[in-house]
Assembly symmetry: C2
Homo-oligomer: 353 residues x 2
């Protein structure tokens, strides 16, 4: 049977102060949709529902966020919500649900999807997922979703493609994380590389076999946890904190055990302000949201405070954000400084981080 | 007898959103003092009290601001507060109290002072005022306070000095408003020019004589008003809207009727954000006030919202202001755009101007 697991962990400090330690970005109503704004998690559940019913959608998140998930995705059964008592990175956000599902359904095939991407149109994504499921069902290999690059982005991981399996599916020869610009330009020019979308599809049993081979301590603990869910608080913290890319996908690719499917949709990481600006409405040359008055151009201006106005004149290339408890100003091309700034706020103005 | 009249009118849109239409800058607790912050009006009254008792301090302001004045300056008798029902510029803010005081005390000598300047130290200013009173009492001439320039400022008015009357007092040959840079540089190099501080000292009767000669309709109306204070709402709107510099000081100087006294104190106009930045505490290379976290330098950052933090990274030369109802971002060297921006807010986000 087919399942979708949505990874909705992460604290989202790159979008501080919109996301605060108690409210990560995937739960915030950031994304304009029709006449309201919706959360990335809401959109992720909507996408998942195009391929499986709610009973076969699982969500992995921080235990502290379970109430928010219940509220944003009331159609998902309570038993399908997995709350991590501590963050243990993406290997365990994949291995834990794989172990739980394999125990119930030996033929479980899982699409392991992210919550913090914006993917449009939804029906193209559904076709991509159908192709990924078919490929994963046809053998033991792990399937990863790839995006043909349109520019030499240095912030993404890249997939090196091998032999074609079809028009839109290929063997994977290896992965490269965030290459320097010159290398990213080579990748783009060669046509052999795709962006790694960080979304996967696999038979639960095949994935667990690889985990058992590559990270036996992890496999043992998640199988133990699947059998004894009451021991979550005891077992989970003992898991190694490691990413699924580094722990499984890279070594599995070296064994010829990974293939990829082309993601036929517009795919955007909205993890930072520059990317978020791309999805906001335009206001006189700025990407803007909320009550904003601008005599300026080329800025990302977000006002999430219903009781205030944000007024900007004579600046360009800035991110200006106002929430009820914080104002942020940072150049858009230095938006990676937001994370460190939020940490500085935690020290210098505790309670406002 | 000596009197001080403090001019505390003006709407202060250059400091929006700190000053809003209901709360001009002179009433805001902007200025760090000891362990609190005080208003410019508070400081102006403090200065006045070094030369006259509260009973001889008068305040001219907008009628709408009288309650704020009563609260900030409770020591000033109610009868000494003159509330203008409509703005009629500085000629009438001088002529009205002169007419009122001359009617009570034919020998009244008035120091006509501003509320929106920062002047330190206070005792030096008191000595300057004493010299100005003596000069005004010695004859019929109008006395203006001048500041030896330290740079070719193009935003101030200049006094052209004539013959010396003492080490610190001179005849005045004329006035120039806001000269272009090249001219301001000539003024600075010549040593013949002082900045016009916009503060004056005169015998009430001598001033009214000049007003009667130069603006007879104004003199007639303010004398009528002094006799019939109950007709304020009827008489005041009929006064011409004109500045005391243009209506009286410039033509009086041409008649040889003006002299000047050197203001022996640090004198700063804090009418805009660039100037306000000069009086705020330093925080890691920024002028900052309130709960601010900065990984940036060379900015003016003012947080007047007790329930929030303002966090800034990677920018320089900016003015960033947060109040409970607005956030402002503008380059410091374009701070003159604030006035127009506040007007844009009044149209696009009414209620937040």
């Amino acid at each position: 049977m087919r399942y979708v697991v949505i990874m909705a962990g992460g604290s989202g400090t790159r979008l501080w102060p919109l996301s605060r330690s108690g409210t990560p970005k995937q739960f915030l109503p950031l994304i304009p949709a029709q006449d309201a704004r919706v959360s990335l998690l809401h959109l992720a559940v909507e996408r998942a529902r195009t391929v499986v019913p709610p009973e076969r959608i699982w969500i992995v998140t921080g235990a502290a966020y379970l109430d928010m998930v219940r509220e944003l995705a009331p159609e998902i059964p309570e038993s399908n919500l997995l709350g991590e008592p501590v963050g243990r990175d993406s290997l365990n956000a994949a291995a834990w649900p794989a172990a739980v599902l394999a125990a119930r359904d030996p033929d479980a095939v899982i699409a392991q999807l992210t919550a913090d991407h914006l993917i449009q149109p939804v029906d193209s994504f559904a076709r991509t997922l159908a192709a990924a499921f078919e490929l994963a069902e046809s053998g033991p290999k792990l399937v990863t979703l790839g995006v043909p690059p349109t520019r030499p982005h240095t912030g993404y991981g890249y997939i090196r493609r091998g032999a074609a399996l079809s028009d839109t599916a290929f063997e994977v020869l290896g992965f490269t994380e965030k290459p320097p610009l010159a290398l990213a330009q080579q990748y783009l020019a060669s046509g052999e590389y795709w962006w790694n979308a960080g979304m996967f599809c696999w038979r639960a049993a095949a994935f667990l076999d690889l985990v058992a081979q590559l990270r036996p301590e992890c496999a043992q603990l998640v199988l133990e946890l699947a059998e004894n869910p009451g021991q979550l608080a005891d077992i989970f913290p003992r898991l190694p904190k490691i990413s699924v890319d580094y722990a499984v996908m890279e070594p599995a690719a070296a064994q010829g055990m990974v293939c990829c499917v082309r993601l036929d949709a517009q795919w955007r990481d909205v993890g930072g302000y520059a990317a978020l600006g791309n999805v906001l409405p335009q206001l006189g040359g700025n990407a803007a949201s909320g009550r904003v008055v601008a005599d300026a151009q080329g800025n990302v201006i977000i006002n999430d405070d219903p009781d205030a106005v944000v007024a900007v004149a004579g600046v360009t290339g800035l991110v200006v954000v106002r929430t009820p408890t914080a104002t942020l100003v940072v150049p858009a091309d230095q938006a990676e400084r937001v994370k460190a700034l939020a940490e500085q706020v935690a020290v210098q103005a505790p309670g406002f981080e």
